[in-house]
């Protein structure tokens, strides 16, 4: 059981990284990775919402949609739950933990439309994970998002000081750097098989 949890966690952080391998959450990955502090702040907010969203959507799907034969409503229900949850988290943070709200608040509205959050909720269902497995997978994919963001913020810091050909300035060179970072994650292929199986 524990071993399986570790495998799910490692797989979603390193091997099936949501940003670099499944292309989910590319907008914040390109938009908010300019500075390390912002990248880390955004990632913490994503991890938080992702785990909360999974904790909310999994029971709704299993105990509400499946028994009533409403499986086809999952897309609508999940996106509504996520939107409501983000709004609720924002209000709760504002009221009870203003200091945390100050550092995370600006990232929260961006998260409703972050496809990684909806993606992880839908993938947990289609992979047939149980409740605990879903939570671990959501946490792992959030951590993977953070790893990619923080690494990439470092790469972009270096890019600032380099002389880029004119046509490549701005977004094109950022994408090409992302391609190289993504390639480096291919080095983790097989790590799960060799470590645990």
């Amino acid at each position: 059981m524990f071993k399986q949890m570790v495998i799910i966690l490692m797989t979603s952080v390193l091997v099936n990284n949501y940003v670099l391998n499944k292309f989910l959450g590319i907008c914040p990955f390109l938009g908010v990775s300019k500075k390390l502090k912002q990248a880390a702040g955004m990632s913490v907010a994503v991890i938080f919402v992702q785990v909360m969203a999974t904790a909310a959507t999994w029971p709704i799907y299993t105990f509400l949609l499946v028994p009533n034969n409403l499986k086809y409503l999952e897309t609508i229900v999940f996106i509504l739950v996520i939107a409501a949850l983000v709004q609720f988290v924002e209000m709760a943070l504002k009221k009870f933990i203003p200091s945390l709200y100050k550092s995370l608040g600006v990232y929260l509205p961006l998260i409703t439309t972050n496809c990684a959050v909806l993606g992880v909720c839908l993938n947990n269902i289609s992979d047939g994970y149980g409740f605990a497995e879903s939570l671990v997978s959501a946490l792992g994919c959030g951590l993977g998002f953070m790893l990619a963001m923080v690494l990439f913020a470092g790469v972009r810091g270096r890019m600032e000081s380099s002389d880029v050909p004119k046509a490549f300035r701005g977004l094109p060179i950022t994408l090409i750097a992302a391609s190289i970072v993504s390639l480096s994650f291919y080095g983790f292929r097989g790590i799960i098989d060799n470590l645990f199986k």
Binding site: F23, L30, M42, T75, V106, P109, N123, G170, L171
Partner: protein, 226 residues
């Protein structure tokens, strides 16, 4: 009058191409462009959702209260996405399996919410439909262009049909995820060279611009400082 309608339709294809100029919908652009068939079906599915949701939102624009418009838009879009999902599952199950989770993720595709916010909530039903068709065609065209490059060089085939003489010259990197970023980056650089404009993300390409309300310097979480 005719000209205005035509220009609404055409601007989405080149001048305001959602993928290459507005930089919206990057996730599906990178994910489903490993072959022409999935790129084409993704483009068409998104176009159907875009046209329907644009028309619905435009028709309801005077009824929807301003404060809760984003959740309302999301519900309308999600309803149409579910419809497309069910239709594909029933009639084209192969394509449904091929697109996988990315089909459901059309809901959070920034192109659709972006057009709802920027165009459909301010214009009439017919104009919004035309805008949807134009943007949808632009999206499909950009996806197909990406897929053409990736499939021909990476897999030596077009739409699943092998090109004779290329079977020993596949650069399979292009079929993998790094290849997606690489192709997209190079395409954008070509666009920048041709138009002479440096490519930057701005609030127009930020999915949350409408919810965020901050512009320029104030925009901390968004893309203004890219």
């Amino acid at each position: 009058m005719e000209n205005k309608k035509l220009s609404i339709l055409l601007k989405g294809i080149i001048k305001e191409n959602p993928v290459l100029v507005l930089v919206l919908g990057t996730c599906p652009t990178l994910a489903v462009t490993t072959n022409m068939i999935s790129a084409f079906s993704m483009g068409i599915s998104a176009m159907i959702v875009l046209v329907c949701s644009n028309m619905a939102i435009s028709a309801l624009r005077k009824v929807i209260p301003d404060k809760v418009r984003i959740p309302c838009f999301i519900v309308i879009i999600a309803a149409f996405v579910t419809l497309v999902q069910m239709l594909l599952q029933a009639y084209l199950p192969n394509i449904y399996d091929m697109l996988g989770v990315y089909l459901a993720l059309i809901v959070v595709n920034c192109i659709i919410l972006g057009r709802a916010e920027m165009f459909a909530s301010k214009n009439g039903v017919i104009d919004s439909a035309l805008d949807g068709v134009g943007m949808g065609l632009g999206f499909t065209a950009a996806l197909m262009a990406m897929a053409l490059i990736r499939e021909v060089i990476g897999n030596g085939s077009i739409a699943g049909i092998a090109i004779p003489g290329l079977e020993n010259f596949k650069i399979s990197l292009l079929m993998m995820s790094p290849g997606g970023f690489l192709t997209f980056g190079i395409l954008m650089a070509i666009m920048a060279k041709v138009t002479g404009k440096e490519k930057k993300l701005d609030c127009g390409s930020c999915p949350a611009a409408s919810m965020c309300g901050k512009t320029g310097e104030e925009c901390k979480g968004g893309a203004a400082d890219v």
